[in-house]
Amino acid sequence: MRELIEHTEGINRLMARYGVKFGIYKNGEFHEQLFPFDAIPRVITHEDFQQLEKGLIQRVDALNLFLNDIYGEKKIIHDGVIPEEFVFISSGYLPQCEGIIPPKKIYSHISGIDLVLGKDGEWYILEDNLRIPSGASYPMIAREICRRVSPATFGNNSVVDNRNYADMPKETMEWVNTGGIPVIMTPGRYNAAYFEHSYLAERTGSALASCTDLFVEDNHLYYRDYRDRKQKVGVIYRRISDDYLDPMTFLPESLIGIPNIMDVYRSGNVAIVNAPGNGVADDKGIYYFVPKMIRYYLDQEPILKNAPTYLPFYEEDRKYVLDHLENLVIKDVAEAGGYGVIFGNELSSEKLSEMKRLIEKESRRFIAQEVIDFQDMEVMDGDEKVLRKADLRAFVLSGETTRVWPSGLTRFSRNADSFVVNSSQGGGFKDTWVLSQWKK
C-alpha cells in the first residue's frame, strides 16, 4: 500500500497520458480536467460486499419492476402504495413511453447507485441513477495502472479483479440485442463524460457513434459508413438524455438526436440502454418510496436503508421539515450532479426563511434528509493524510441476471468541510477494493 501512495504522482501522470479526464463548462467555455486520483483505496470486506450485493440487486430488481409497472398496468398506484401525483408530475415520467415493452423487459440495464457508509457501519443509499450513470471507467483504468505500479500490493492483498467491467455492459447489451451491431452513442467530445464514452466503446468493441452516423429507415436503426453502406443496429447504449434522443418525439427544436428512433424502439426493433423514461424511478421524490416498492413487488424487507427522508408534500413531513430545516439537507428534485443540494446549517436566518417559504409554496419540488454522519476516508493531501467525505457509486448491471460490479467509483471531497464529492465540483476519486473470500 505504501508503494502505491508513494507513486501517486506517477499514477496520475499515467492517467493524464491515457486522457482520464472529464469536461466542464465554466463561463460558457469548455475545459478538460484531470480527475484527481488518490491512491488509498476504499476497502470493502468480502462479507460486507455480499450484503451490499444482495441489497443492490434487490433494489435494482424492484426499480425495474416499478418501471415496467408504471409504463404498463400501474398497479402500484392503483393499490395506493405511491400517490399518482409523485409519478405523473415527475419530469422523468415520459407519457411517450406508455405501453412500450423494452426488449427482455429491462429498463435499467446499467444502474449507478450512490451510497455512503455511516459511522454506525451501515450503508445508506443516497440516490439511484437509472438514466445514464457514468464513472465506472475511472476505477477500471486506475486499477490497471495501480497493478503496474505496485504488483506487490495486489499480490499481498486478496483484491477481486475489477478490470472485467467492460464485459458486463457488453454481455448486457448482447442479452437485449434485437439483431444488429452494438453502438455507443455520444453527444460528442464536448460532453462531460466523453472519455468514458470513447473508452467503453474501445473496451466493449462497440462502434462509437454520433447522432449523424445513425438514421432510421423502414422502422429500423442503421449506422452509415463512409462508403454509404448501412449496418443494422440491434442495441444502442446512448449517452444522451431522453430529451435529446428523438426530436420527433421529445424536443422538436433539438438539433441532435435521431429522428424516429422512438418508433423503432416502440416496435421492438432496437434496444435502448438505458430505456427512455427511467427518470421517473430515480426522481429524488420517488426515492422515498423505493423501500415500499421492494416490499410491494418482491415481498421482501429492504436490505439496504435509505437515508432518513421527508417529503414536504405530506403535511406531517412538511411540518417536521419546516421545524428542523437548519439540521436537514434539502434537495431540489430537478437537479443533479451535486447541484441543488442545500445544507440547512449553512443558511443565514434570512435564507432559511426564504427556503421555508419556497418549500411551502412548492412542496413537491424538494425532499429533505437527515445529515448522515458518514465515515470519513483517509486521503493524501501532499505528504499528509487527511480525512475527507466520500461516497460510493456501485454499478449494477441487469441482463440475463442482475449483477453488481465488484468495485465501484469512490468519490471524495477535496475540501475539508464539504459533503459534495462530485467531480464537476472539484472532487477526486479512489479505487474501490472488494476483498476476496480467499485471504492471502
Binding site: 451491431i181 473508452y199 466503446a201 474501445e202 449506422y223 459508413d225 463512409y226
Partner: protein, 224 residues
C-alpha cells in the same frame, strides 16, 4: 467493427495530416534554429514565405516563441499539435487508448515546455512521441481502412510540405509513390485527373519548382 463513418474518415485523414505537419515542421525548425546562431535577424522570413504563412514575427527570439508555442498563432506548431489532438480524441475506439496516448503525450510535452530556455531539448520528446504514435498505429490499429486513411493523410501532408520546402525531385518521387500506394487501398473517392497531373509534374520531369502552385493545387484538390 469494420465500419467507419464519414465523420471518422475525416478525423483520421486530418489526424494523419496534422501529426505529419508537426513532425516535419519541427524537424525543419531544428535546422532553422541552428541557422539562427550565425544568421542575422529575420532568417525565418523565407521559411514563412515557402509555407505560405503570414510573416508576423518581430525577431528571431519572438519567432521561436510564437511559431513553436503560440496558442493564439494559428500557424504555430503548437496549434497544429492541438488540431492533431482534436482529431485524435474522437478516435479512441479506432486508434486504441495505447496509440491515442502518444498524441496526448506529445501535446502535454508541448504545454509543459512552453517556458523552457532550451526548447529543442524538450521538443525532441514530441518527435519521439509522434514516431511512437506511427509505430503504434501500425501495430494497434486493427482496421486496415483506418490505417490506410490515416497514412493517406500523412503522405498528402508530407508531399505538400516537401513541395513547399523545395525538396529534391527524388524525395518528391518517393513521397508521391507512398501516397499512391495508400490511395489505392483506401476506397476513398479521389480525383484521378488531379493525381495524374501531379504525377506528370513529379515523375515525368516537369520541374516541380516552377509548377509548385499547380502541384499543390492538385494535391489540395484530390478529395474535393
Amino acid at each position: 467493427m469494420g465500419i467507419i463513418s464519414m465523420e471518422k474518415v475525416d478525423h483520421l485523414y486530418w489526424l494523419g495530416r496534422y501529426t505529419e505537419r508537426v513532425y516535419t515542421t519541427l524537424r525543419v525548425f531544428f535546422h532553422i534554429y541552428d541557422h539562427m546562431i550565425e544568421q542575422p535577424e529575420g532568417v525565418y522570413a523565407k521559411y514563412c514565405e515557402k509555407l505560405n504563412i503570414p510573416e508576423i514575427y518581430t525577431s528571431n527570439r519572438q519567432f521561436v516563441q510564437s511559431y513553436l508555442f503560440g496558442a493564439d498563432n494559428p500557424d504555430s506548431v503548437y496549434s497544429n499539435m492541438k488540431r492533431a489532438y482534436d482529431n485524435a480524441i474522437v478516435l479512441r475506439d479506432e486508434l486504441s487508448s495505447t496509440v491515442l496516448s502518444y498524441v496526448q503525450l506529445a501535446l502535454d510535452t508541448f504545454e509543459s515546455c512552453r517556458k523552457t530556455t532550451a526548447p529543442l531539448l524538450e521538443l525532441q520528446q514530441v518527435i519521439d512521441d509522434l514516431l511512437a504514435f506511427w509505430g503504434g498505429a501500425d501495430d494497434y490499429v486493427e482496421e486496415e481502412d483506418c490505417r490506410n486513411i490515416l497514412k493517406c493523410g500523412k503522405y498528402v501532408e508530407r508531399l505538400d510540405l516537401s513541395i513547399r520546402l523545395d525538396y529534391h525531385t527524388k524525395d518528391l518521387e518517393k513521397e508521391y509513390r507512398k501516397l499512391c500506394n495508400r490511395l489505392e487501398k483506401t476506397n476513398l473517392d479521389y480525383s484521378k485527373e488531379k493525381l495524374s497531373r501531379l504525377e506528370a509534374i513529379i515523375l515525368q520531369g516537369e520541374d516541380p519548382k516552377s509548377y509548385c502552385q499547380e502541384a499543390l493545387a492538385c494535391l489540395g484538390g484530390l478529395f474535393t
